[in-house]
């Protein structure tokens, strides 16, 4: 995608991210987190990771954010108006963040592969050999479109089927955990 969009969406991501960190009101934070994630999703698309981008929007900007908002509402958490922010923590956070960013940037600057322009790493769809077994995928490739989702699915279910099961187990454990942690004591009503 044109670099203008890249800058736009990165600005969006980072800007809303900043808002998440700074907003006094949790609801604001949650919403701006969603926005930031949308920007992130756009960046994913820019990297030709259409499936991941979609997932990002669906799962994160969608489900997870709703979950957050729901909890915020449920516990109806007030904005931190009265309290002034914990100053040392703020200062510490900022310093660390700055230093970290600097460190990463330095590394990037010395990272020779990092200078590769995106057009120098073209997707040569024709010569996609191994992956192009499935007829549909083969067709898409001939048509010169990246069958991202199909390839993703192929990888997931062919290569990482086992891991998929593990993650499923994980989600189950998560569910059980949530039940265990939030079930109320029988009879007892707690505020």
């Amino acid at each position: 995608m044109p670099s203008i969009f890249f800058y736009l969406f990165s600005a969006m991501t980072l800007g809303f991210g900043l808002l998440v960190v700074t907003a006094r009101n949790p609801v604001t934070s949650a919403l701006s987190l969603a926005a930031s994630f949308v920007g992130l999703a756009a960046l994913f698309l820019g990297l030709d990771a259409y499936f991941i981008g979609t997932i990002q929007i669906l799962v994160y900007a969608g489900a997870v954010m709703v979950l957050f908002l729901f909890i915020i509402m449920l516990l109806d958490i007030k904005a931190e108006e009265g309290k002034k922010p914990n100053l040392p923590a703020v200062i510490g956070g900022i310093t660390l963040a700055v230093i970290l960013a600097l460190q990463i940037t330095t590394v990037c600057s010395s990272f020779n592969n990092g200078a590769v322009k995106i057009k120098d790493a073209p997707l040569a769809l024709q010569q996609a050999g191994e992956a192009a077994k499935l007829p549909t995928i083969a067709n898409d490739l001939k048509a010169g479109v990246l069958p991202d989702t199909k390839l993703m699915g192929l990888t997931l279910f062919q290569k990482y089927g086992f891991h998929l099961q593990v993650v499923g187990l994980l989600l189950l454990v998560g569910t059980v955990g949530v039940v265990v942690l939030s079930k109320r004591e029988k009879g007892v009503k707690d505020a």
Partner: protein
């Protein structure tokens, strides 16, 4: 029958147990405990046969799992510790009944089994994706387990702290994986090792990735400077969970760390020296940060937490300063050390649990007069503390000996000094507990009510400690580099 089928059996068994306790409310806790312990014990037996049989893994997991000596050892380790944890859960049921809503903690008999599976998969994982998913299976379950007794504010607080810091460390871990992948283009340990040996691999990028990755893992194994969560979480969590964390989770963390470090320090790796340096420096620091504050602790649980930090330090040193001079690779030494660490930790927590069950607290002073109240337990506890302190003729010494060998062999004098200081300070805080146990001015001298089975278990653990201490050969052979899965096909 292959080891993998044992794992599948455990998964099914765990899920079945979940359903069972959900669907059959009449099921008493005793039977539930019986079933789960029985199941895991069965799994352990099956596992022993499977590992002996030398049957290989099914083809479809072979790309992601290996069955080398370490893997087999750690899988067995996970099973054993799970078994012990379930037992401890039974022992500390009084506490759990008190602090769980409705006194219902039946999930504590099923979740550990799934955690166990996760650990077993971590033990044999061949690439970072497998590591990540199984690691997260373990971690997420631990979020639940730590906060399980949520009617106790401490447990809840521990849960929150573990959640936030754990999630943070996960983020660091993933970021590290990302960079390692970026630098090497590989996600499997072999691939990483191979790529690191190539000249064109970017050193700085690899180093950045390694730094983040090791930090993330360091958190799991309670290595400085990521140890700060350990005392709080160990103290707050229920005893069985604490044991599970300090032995099981630590072991799982170390097997991954071992694999990672082995790939980072593969022959010709461009970052080997840095990684080794980091391990040695971090190990020394961990020992100091673990043992020095321990001198001031009054809660046995917190004390043991700090001790587990300093032991993590020794483990890191073992990993970093392995010596090629004896039949144990540095990973082997780590495994050996953990094997010695298991019985002593479990034993000391067991005694603590028994005291709690008899109305005691977790303060050192609650051990006062134990020698009178139950000579056997006092002797067992003395042994385990001596072993933790690393006195010869107990299991704890052998591990320390190997570490010392490694350090001397690598001429890492600074780290050696720290190790000596840590051990010397250790004499102080472990012996404090011993002194209290034998003190004559106990308020209560009435004998402890200890079930025979419990007592027997304690004795067995004590015996194990001594046996490993005077006859380490079998254990060492278990870890000898020759793979267990020889021939067979």
């Amino acid at each position: 029958m292959s080891v993998f089928s044992v794992e599948i059996f455990l998964v099914v068994f765990g899920l079945a147990l979940l359903c069972l306790e959900a669907l059959v409310p009449t099921l008493t806790r005793r039977t539930l405990a019986g079933i789960s312990i029985g199941g895991v014990a069965l799994a352990l037996v099956l596992f022993l046969f499977a590992s002996k049989s030398g049957a290989d893994l099914p083809a479809f997991v072979q790309p992601y799992h290996q069955l080398d000596t370490l893997a087999v050892f750690y899988k067995g380790f996970a099973l054993v510790i799970t078994l012990l944890v379930l037992w401890l859960t039974v022992e500390s049921s009084a506490y759990l009944t008190k602090f769980t809503p409705g006194g219902n903690f039946s999930e504590l008999f099923s979740l550990p089994i799934l955690v166990c599976v996760g650990m077993m998969w971590m033990a044999s994982a061949k690439d970072l994706i497998t590591v990540f998913v199984s690691l997260e299976l373990v971690t997420v379950s631990f979020y639940v387990l730590v906060a399980f007794a949520r009617k106790s504010n401490l447990a809840l607080e521990a849960g929150v702290k573990y959640l936030i810091l754990g999630a943070l460390s996960t983020g660091v871990l993933v970021y590290g994986i990302a960079w390692v992948y970026g630098a090497t283009g590989a996600l499997s340990f072999d691939g990483i090792g191979a790529a690191l040996a190539l000249p064109e691999t970017s050193r700085t990028a690899a180093l950045l990735g390694a730094a983040f990755l090791l930090s993330g893992l360091g958190f799991k194994v309670a290595a400085a400077p990521f140890q700060m969560w350990v005392p709080d979480v160990y103290q707050g969590a229920p005893i069985p969970v604490t044991v599970f964390l300090s032995v099981g989770s630590k072991a799982a963390g170390f097997v991954v760390l071992t694999r990672t470090v082995e790939s980072f320090m593969a022959t010709g790796s461009v970052i080997a020296a840095e990684v080794q340096g980091l391990l040695i420096v971090g190990g020394a620091l961990t020992i100091l940060l673990g043992s020095l504050p321990a001198m001031f602790q009054t809660s046995i649980k917190r004390l043991l937490a700090y001790s587990s930090i300093s032991h993590a330090g020794y483990l890191l040193l073992a990993l970093g300063a392995g010596s090629a001079r004896f039949d144990l690779s540095s990973g082997g030494v780590v495994a050996f050390y953990l094997a010695t660490y298991l019985p002593m930790t479990v034993l000391s927590f067991l005694v603590l649990a028994i005291l709690r069950a008899n109305g005691g607290g977790e303060d050192i002073q609650d051990f006062r007069g134990l020698a009178r109240r139950s000579p056997v337990l006092a002797l067992a506890m003395t042994l385990s503390l001596a072993s933790l302190a690393g006195l010869p003729l107990t299991a704890g010494f052998m591990g320390k000996l190997f570490v010392f060998f490694g350090l001397v062999d690598q001429a890492a004098w600074g780290a050696l000094t720290c190790a000596v200081i840590g051990a010397a300070v250790g004499f102080y805080y472990y012996f404090r507990a011993i002194l209290v146990m034998y003190a004559t001015d106990a308020q209560t001298a009435e004998p402890l009510k200890v079930a025979t089975g419990t007592k027997a278990g304690a004795i067995v653990l004590a015996v194990v400690i001594v046996v490993i201490g005077v006859y380490p050969k079998p254990l060492q052979q278990l870890l000898a580099p020759v793979p267990v899965t020889v021939v067979a096909h």
